[in-house]
Subunit: 291 residues, 4 copies
């Protein structure tokens, strides 16, 4: 009996013509918030995981690969990050990584979905690790665009931990030039911005939208990427600043900085930093009908 | 974004080259008992469901189609069924249907998996409807073959509500002639036996094993079948006796009997009885390489 | 290595929350015609098959189960069917069954998709069996609705072998009262109409549209159904007439008629006729949130 | 109608609990050779592709990412590679990359499956690009282990382009110490060996077998990796030598070497070389039942 493949699976969108189907051990919690469908499941291979609208956001097995790569390159590039703004990042893992840097006095996390944040607080301790309770943390439930327009704060580092640019029209706005121009107004003089940018191989247009919009807005724009197993692809990031260049930092300097700041990581290091910035943003050049 | 199909699914074995994938709303309970992997899930389209080793056994949406067809043809064919033996039938729905016949004084259900029966009692009330608590019910946790060898009781009706003959070697034994010969010894003079027999279209060999074994053992053997949506196929049943012939009963007589016995059903009726016995046991005559 | 399930599969829509995935041996031909996406594949379990817009229409393993059930009940109910109209039925198998009745002088098949008919002629001989070349056959490439408005012919039997009512708005029109009223105008005095009607269990609304529309238009309306393995469900049919009642015919009379007409079938018989009309049109009464 | 996901798909094994399902446009050719099941398909997103026993080996969209990474690091590390041995590599793309280095006088490709090589020659020109016809090429149809024992040739570079270590017992042998010891005997003094090593994240044990076996056999062992989209994961490679260290080469030197040798690549460069060797071999540290 060919029954090996029976059972409970999650079917995840990877690209317009690929799906990743992953064995599920347990459903921990599901809810339809005002903004999205939230599923907490335990995958056989990845453990406790957060899924939003059918896309895996974080799993305990590999979220550190994503969150450490998203946060630390910008944080180490800034000589003294005191105020940090995170837009998105509902599960609190981006906040967790930011707070590892002792210079941080204020970390504001703005997420539009208050219900998601409550769910994360209750169920995702292995991801946020108590970061919501750190006295330096401030969680604001608000549309990120609105927050940026209204705040009178200025930030050294801004981290855009958003859903993918191709997932909705609203999401696209957060990867476009007008948004980055607004964002620049609340950056401090040596400020630096980083965003996840989807997968350049499968979603080249969305990636180029973000890349070109950042290039029109900032003087120094650097691309990097790493494979996150549960995403089914290599995810790309873009970091931008008028003055700071993370790609120019050598491994030894980064390792020294991490030691000085007593930042402990599971994945990120000086060598990994270099691997991230050396990883090319792949494009799919296959065109149907062409040899 | 081609995201329509994302989400949580159950992949169910239908045949050696087909799978049915069904949307899941919720996992209610899972356990690995001594004998099998038990999953209780809520399917979007079928509600609360019992799955054993990757095969859907019962869903609240359609289990009555299966259980009423399994139980009532044999029960109405017997003029006065007082003692009934059920082998298998862990969720208690076969027992529920048997107890609807007021002549029944004793209904013994023998299931090898005591843990499954406890799970059913606790979680599957919409299926057993309290039948385990009926004073006429007796649940015996034992191997069915052993029970048949050891019991000194005699039964008017025996209902074999077993896992499919192709699911394991042990299961095959319960569809073979030696087993039916043992079974005949504990049948009363006008006794009648019924078994589910898998799907003749997809599992012709297993079906023929049961059919031929019953034909070698009993004088009157009748085949019937009906489509059970959540199984992904039309399931076949075989009923056998030396004296009783359910296929010869006309619809009016059955409807009158059901009224006299005050048996209320959701699906079964005189007309449905006739449809069951008129439904041919399909065979797949496609042979690869042949036109 | 859990590799049993690797390989080439067809993912078929069964209902809004179920898919049937079937092992494919070979792709024979694919084309996007003006009207639909046509795929000819060889399934491991079903052999050569026609798929339109992702829905299996016919496989050599089981198309006779569908086409014999669609055609013969109406044909035997009519005492002397001379002129027959088929709307749809591109693969020519409905035509093949119609032509088995020797009284037929003219069988007009109207299909909107001329490319599909050419593909069928070339690749689907095991299905049409040369029926397109029968001198009694006439193939008209035209919208069925338009043909019915324009023709001055009158037909004894009309067979609607259409794509499912839920597959598009255009398809819905062919299952509605205005269409049936038009159709009635070209029926002879003892005329009879039959349509496939999708699956009442999974698509109750579409089924009821067809059923109620026929009931508003004809005096005698009978429902029947049978399980077609490669469809993943039991398919329902509705036959309607002002004078003829196929459900009232007994098996012996049908078997005699088939012998007199020298109609040879693989599946259909007097007993199967009765099984078809006794098979209840199932409804899914499961409502989420209700026990 | 939720029909977006209908159609023809390939279900590919990624890990014991994940599958990648990829849309297929066309089947080009399939054959069961003496050694394996060979499928040539056109994926919607990846074009013409070679699949062996259910595992994607090469697609026109991304095979250069795999083959350039497999071949060039060892080839540039060797100052003057004249004789090269490839074991496996049936589609001829590894050979194609090797032949780009003008110092190569002899490139012997040993593949156990002669039928596969013939299929590649006929259907996979976009992959081999005529490399089989190069006068420096010699194709030997033989078991690689046997070839190594029997040959009296000596090689500067050996490239192991094998199926994955977890795919069979026979495959495992080709990743173990006895094999590497045999291999070392036919390496020239400054010889270098490279092997693909599966995915360390999903198949840690198999990866460690290869890694530890190479470490026991060679003085310098370097790990590298890159994401190959159609594999569904980041693939790891291991390169080993007693004298040469590809990881120690700086990007400028590599770019200069490529220019001098007139090696043209689509993906590989000095910077990519560095990214490869900086990419960490990921391990999945998630253990079920642990927080």
């Amino acid at each position: 009996m060919n029954a090996d493949f029976n059972g409970l699976y999650y079917v995840q969108f990877v690209s317009k013509s690929s799906k990743l189907i992953m064995k599920v051990d347990r459903i921990v919690y599901t809810a339809r918030t005002k903004y999205q469908f939230v599923e907490l499941v335990e995958f056989e291979e990845f453990g406790l995981s957060l899924i939003l609208d059918g896309l895996v956001q974080s799993t305990v097995a590999d979220e550190h690969i994503y969150h450490e790569a998203l946060v630390h390159p910008a944080m180490v590039a800034h000589p003294n990050p005191r105020s940090v703004l995170i837009i998105g990042g509902g599960e609190g893992a981006t906040l967790r990584e930011v707070l590892k840097h002792p210079s941080v006095e204020k970390a504001v996390m703005v997420d539009i979905d208050g219900e998601l944040v409550e769910i994360a607080k209750r169920y995702l301790e292995p991801m946020h690790r108590g970061s919501f309770n750190d006295p330096r943390s401030e969680v604001v439930i608000m549309d990120g665009k609105e927050y940026i327009r209204k705040t009178d704060r200025v930030f050294d580092v801004v981290i855009l931990d958003l859903t993918d640019p191709y997932s909705s029209e609203i999401a696209r706005d957060l990867y476009s030039e007008p948004f980055y121009r607004e964002l620049k107004k609340i950056l401090s003089q040596n400020g630096i911005v980083v965003t996840q940018a989807g997968c350049s191989f499968y979603f080249e247009d969305a990636y180029d939208l973000a890349l070109n919009s950042l290039k029109s807005t900032f003087r120094i724009v650097r691309e990097y990427g790493n494979w996150v197993p549960s995403f089914g692809y290599l995810i790309n990031y873009i970091v931008a600043s008028d003055t700071l260049d993370p790609a120019a930092m050598d491994p030894e300097r980064i390792d020294r900085l991490l030691r000085e700041r007593r930042v402990e990581t599971r994945y990120y290091s000086g060598d990994v930093h270099q691997s991230l910035f050396k990883t090319p943003a792949l494009r799919n050049t296959y065109v149907k009908g062409k040899k």
